[in-house]
Amino acid sequence: MVLKYHISNNTFRDSVYLMRLSSTVRSFEGVVEAEVIIGTDHNKKFLQAAGLWSDQMDHDAGANDLIIAIKAEDDEKAEKAIQSTIEELNKSVERENLLGEFVPRTFETALKNLPGANLALISIPGRHVHREVDQILDAGLNVMIFSDNVTLDEEIALKKKALGKNLLVMGPDCGTAIINGVPLAFANEVKQGRIGIVAAAGTGLQEVSSLISNMGEGISHGIGTGGRDVKASVGGITMIQALKALYADAGTEVIVVVSKPPDREVTEKVLELVSEATKPVVINFLGGNPNDIEKAGAVPAATLKEAAEKAVNLARGGKAEIEVEHSPDKQLNVQNIKDNFNESQKYLRALYSGGTLAYETIILLHNSLGDLYTNLSYDQVKKIEDVYKSVKHTVIDFGEDEFTQGRLHPMIDPALRNSRIIEEAGDPETAVIMLDLVLGYNAHPDPAGSALEAIKEAKEIAGKKGRNICFVTSVLGTDEDMQKRSEQVKKLLDEEVLVFPSNADAAVFVRKLLAE
């Protein structure tokens, strides 16, 4: 085994590009481990932990240099992999030159070349965000910050500055937004329409907007605030700005608010503003108190699906329950599925890529399933000790930091979750494996296909031991998404995987199956 490395000085590429390239290089013949990574101190520590480190690298590479580190079977294979990687990197520059498009290096130059720009979408490393966004606000642009690792103080400073200039700062850690029908970052292609959404929960915005679109209504704007916006220290600055903007927007007739329960001060401020609304407001404070919401004259919704349904009903002036599609639980015989479990099969293993969806499942199940463990923070549920090892009923969000350090988010690369599906199938206590499949821009091109590879293997493993595992899924997205929801659903149904119209429906079905 040999370790070889190459440093490309003054070469910078974005992290998603590099993680994809690293994964390609790992598949080269004779390569055991590989990373193509920028030489920041943080990344150097990562290389050390991954066993791809040589002390000389510290001297040779700085934060503006690119490290190609390869562990291979022999010298020749390592060298070949390095050369192929360099060729790939050069190709990306050649492609850019071929397109003949001007690619600016700074915001200042970009603005000169795109006069009238009104929104900046920022996904640079968190520690550089404040410096860049500060000047972007000075130039009068609204900002969506996808990056995480921005300090709380920086978030507050940027939001206060934006407020003073009547500009909007969505995020940090804002994964999705829809403005004027334009889906930003991890958003879905939804119908344009008369329902506006404000969300401090990324996949919550995706689920509600997709369900509304699938019910035949559309979205005016979907504003993401970032999860920390509703903390007392930030004071809900973006949420309040967004609500006011939707009140004033002639194209918005009904408003939906989705968030984990905000801190008390923020709840009071938001509900006071809601009580002055001249348009109907539906609120889902995931697991929050519905009475306060009703008192403020708004409509509480217990789940993301209920929020979507209630908003659609209000927009249409009707009250009927709306079915996105025929929900399978009306046809399914719960007892039959239960009878198919053998004695040892008792527990749920819910493996999520969308954080808000995982959180919603915990809210819906923790009272009925005793012994629920999770890697998320939820007051009434036990924190799991080892995130790689399920205990009794377990809900895991693979989008949490412990799984995404140096890796792509599970919505882009579900490899880690797929191997967990197979692992859970080997556990005689696993009865139900629950999954979310998230479609949309920048997500995996075929989440159902990818999950099915693992599901088939898992079924085989369990089958050999005489066990039937029940796979319960929901597919978040629309037929207008490039992955086409109906095709994703069909693929799953063809392999006898249960597909529910929403995450809440899937969770309620699991409750019927496993409640004590």
């Binding site: 910078f12 974005d14 700085g62 500009l167 403005i179 700005q241 920048n442």
Partner: protein
């Protein structure tokens, strides 16, 4: 901010190039910035530059 709802979006994308590509493919006006850490990523040089501002 009212601008944002009333005018066509013109986006400057800084960071992940994929975000600009998907926007471009669906016909949204977007200009990608190939951002690099300022001051060659040198933190001490960066804080010095900030002081000079």
């Amino acid at each position: 901010m009212e601008d944002l709802f009333k005018k066509e979006l013109k986006i400057i994308n800084m960071g992940l190039e994929g975000f600009a590509e998907t926007l471009k493919e669906r016909g949204t006006t977007v200009l990608h910035v190939r951002w690099q850490p300022p001051a060659m990523g040198d933190d001490s040089l960066l804080s010095l530059l900030d002081k000079l501002k």
